[in-house]
Symmetry: D5
Subunit: 144 residues, 10 copies
């Protein structure tokens, strides 16, 4: 643990966030996401037992979102015909607003299988134990 | 994640708990414990951001305590002259009682530096982010 | 060994089952399956000396089958013209019924070479010593 | 699997048995033996889900016992005061008799903690899931 | 060394033969074959100083040939125009006859460059010091 | 680079500082210190081209000094008879004062060869290119 | 550190510069460049906390620029429509002039995404903490 | 060092020459050749400080040239328009003549970029410090 | 294989013989010697299926025996009371005589357990399949 | 190769010389020195085919000798009774004089077995092919 840095960020996660550069992407996945197989070419960091919101909140305290693109944050679109509710998205947007002035405007959607393709080329995947549905979220790093 | 197994137990932690045998010891350490240096000859598993109680509770659901010794659980004794309170010990004893009929009677104390020596020879150290003082706890595995 | 978890599941197998996510596939292969060459990009876990049924039964106690697809379980189709009997398939269906309400309806078939292609991209292959013919089986993980 | 070699012997176990030489020792441990910690300097081969007898029987079909010592096989002595029965020892002696003309005469006992010390310097430990008590057994390799 | 297993089979070779499955291929190469470069994606086992016949004979005592194909054994065809004699092929056929009832009928030929292509995808290459010409041989494993 | 964290801290250094616990020691060495040989059992992080002051200043922004000991900071004592001046020590004390209320009182001295012995058991050594003499400094981590 | 070699060149950077040959390319990247992901097939050397000019100046004291091409040095072109100033380019040209008689004439430009493609195939990437915009620079090694 | 083997051949180079087979290629490169990047998929052996002739002479004492091709030795063709002299080629031919009765007739030329492509698929690259121009040479191994 | 070097010497064995220096010791062990456990700190090279004489003969063609000691070759003394014959020793002496003018005078004996202690500190152990008794032999390298 | 740095220094040797610090020791050994066994805990760099003088001369151009000790250079003393001449020592002293004003006065002697003990704790050993007797030399690094 370090002064002024959220304790939920493990030493390895901190290292990975720090070594990422402009436009590198990070996936924070829910508990059922196939993080290890999607992340075969990425760095997979396990955060079992944590929800996405507390991890997202901690990461955004140190990790700048890309200001060169419209949607540095992306969610996995609900499949057509699926009537599931996604209240966790509001939580995400509140957290983003605390750390980026664009707030919800910075958040886009990616169709499910396109999301998977993007995830396969992400720099790192943070595997949480989040139980909410459609809770995966992808962040693109900005400049300092 | 698996059916019937607490989601807070990471795949690697589950593996380590499973491969331990009778009389092997496991330390669940608080956030300031020097887990990496104490655990140079052990397996260190990071659980940053979690407290000891939720980890302890999950572990004891699958991990039997040794019934061949009086104190399969040990806490780090308060240093002579130190007036600190250790309310978390009561939490630990409640959790133990749920999983082992001996309850608090199964819990012993080890003097601080002797505790360190024992920790250096433990099979594994689970490094949590627990903020309470004197919160380190050592478990000795029993038979199935 | 752990409380409440089948002892036949090795520590490493438990870890692999746990780290798999939604839609990842696992092959339980018979004793003549070329598990090491098929599994060059997968994790191969040896269970020499065991049959498929006891491994399957243990795995399904902790491993949920995918409910988003019709056939989360797949067998290798008998080659056209081959008159071999496959009584072990009934055993498999009985085991599945114990753990998944869909029972035999959850089981599909894949043509032999298509099965091989799927096996090459599976997350893991469990190599048993099963002696029955056409005894390979592929499982797709569901959500918790 | 190979012709004429028991299928329960995994490829790695076969390799280890083959590369051992005169006087090297092998432990076949029960399911609660702390095989991984005892075997830190040894090769540990997991045979989860198997009992000791079937492993012992298979090993002795290819592995010669040392004829230069009186007791190439050693069991862990029952602790003084312990009234446990050890019927599995008779099973072991029957298996040995099938493969070595000395039969039960080739079997000695080692006091529990001396057994542990010997185990720490063994060449390999085969970790079974055997549930019987006092079921650990140590074999010393002979010449071909 | 082990009882009943040819001493010329090294521990590692024994392991590799054992872990191969139905239809996996093994090349036993002569002393000038570029085993290391052909075998970049394979397991290369050195048997310097041995001829192919003694290795082949030992392997076939434990290794079943594939009975689902006509030619589980293949030799490298003599190049058109080359008048070299290949008496070692007769030796091979005699050895095969001892272990497989099909005898010479189980042996096919592959054109030289096609043989190289097959060798590149073999599971393992056993590099002998055989001095005879056109002495490379490829075996396909059968079922037990 | 990350928001609010000095850019001079490399990803790996940040990880190391974060994973250290209460009482672990860190050496920031000058450019002539034999960091690699002293640090054979430690983690050595190269910061070639930097002076100690800028590294020390950045580290102390996130790294708490131990408050349970009198001298969580130690310098290498000038050898008896050596008349060298050590103005960089004043710089160090100013930097410490900015981050720890004890200021210069937190700084002790260790005789040269005792300093070397301590360095050999440190958790990590940060190798700078500092050119000042007697510029090595050892920090002991406190609690968060 | 060594006599006559700039102290800012770490041992590993010195090794990499030395082992590069004619026409190999080296990127010195600014603090926001995604060095780790761009450099997955390259050697990435971290120089956190340093600017590009001091690294460039040190490298060019030992590293010859290619004289067989017109532009052994390349900068990342400003994106069309971007009005950013790039005063650091003048600094670069001054440094180059000190070490190569061609001076600014040796410097070319590469369109941004072409620059990224080239970076992915570079031999090494030196990741600095440079804060200036459009500060990435690519060097092609000449002959000695 | 060994009896009767040139002392300039390092243990690793000797191993590599020995494990090469018929038709494998070896590059002996000059001091400016980008051996490490060209040899990413090859074995690179450094012989810094040596010229090509002494290495070539030593290698040919133990390494047979391929007699099945016209040009088992190949040089990098001078670029059209380049008027450079290549006196070192005569030295090479004299050395070859000492060890292969074909002498200069065994030597061919490959256009520069074709030579690079061949080098990328060579089995090994020996990186010398040779200062002569157009001094790279490629050898194809023959049979013993 | 290489010109003028016995083909029985594998590439790795050749490398090891070459990298050994004055006074380093090499054990050529028989088929029952516990080479892997004795050689835990050494390099173990397997020569399964070969006898000691052919390996010894090949090694001595390139490996000089130490001329600074009386007995650069040592055999394992017959245990007191053991009436075994050791005709292979004569074979060894004949081979030595071919390569070292001292012949049998260069051969000493070491008591069995002292031999084991020496073997544990040897540079390398060559594990043959030699079936003769008391056939282990230790060589000490001389200067070139 | 790099500008102004002797080409005989390999990339790895340059790295090692650079990462050494004040008082670290380097052995340049002759061709018969058991560099690999003496250097089990050190870094061994092979310079086969080179003599000690050219390596020493190149190293001293970048490597400062320790000025805090009387004899930063040490030779292996001639054994009592040995009448060998050591003319190479004069060559060494001439080379040292070119790079260190103390010249021959900086050179001491160490008794043979004490020299071996020192060599075992050196930071690195450079293994040359030097043929002169008593040609080993040990250097202690000074400050920059």
């Amino acid at each position: 643990m370090l002064k002024g840095i959220p304790a939920i960020l493990s030493p390895e996660l901190l290292k990975v966030l720090c070594e990422m550069g402009h436009s590198d992407r990070l996936v924070i996945s829910d508990g059922n996401f196939p993080a290890e197989s999607m992340g075969k070419d990425a760095i997979v960091i396990r955060c079992d037992g944590h929800g996405v919101p507390e991890i997202l909140d901690a990461i955004l305290q140190v990790f700048p979102l890309d200001t060169y693109v419209d949607h540095p944050v992306n969610l996995m679109e609900v499949m057509p015909g699926d009537t599931v509710e996604t209240p966790i998205w509001d939580t995400y947007k509140d957290i983003i607003k605390k750390n980026d002035s664009r707030g919800a405007a910075a958040v886009g959607n990616i169709e499910r299988f396109a999301f998977y393709d993007e995830a396969r080329t992400a720099y790192a995947i943070v595997a949480t134990g989040e139980k909410a549905l459609y809770a995966n979220i992808m962040l693109q790093k900005g400049v300092i």
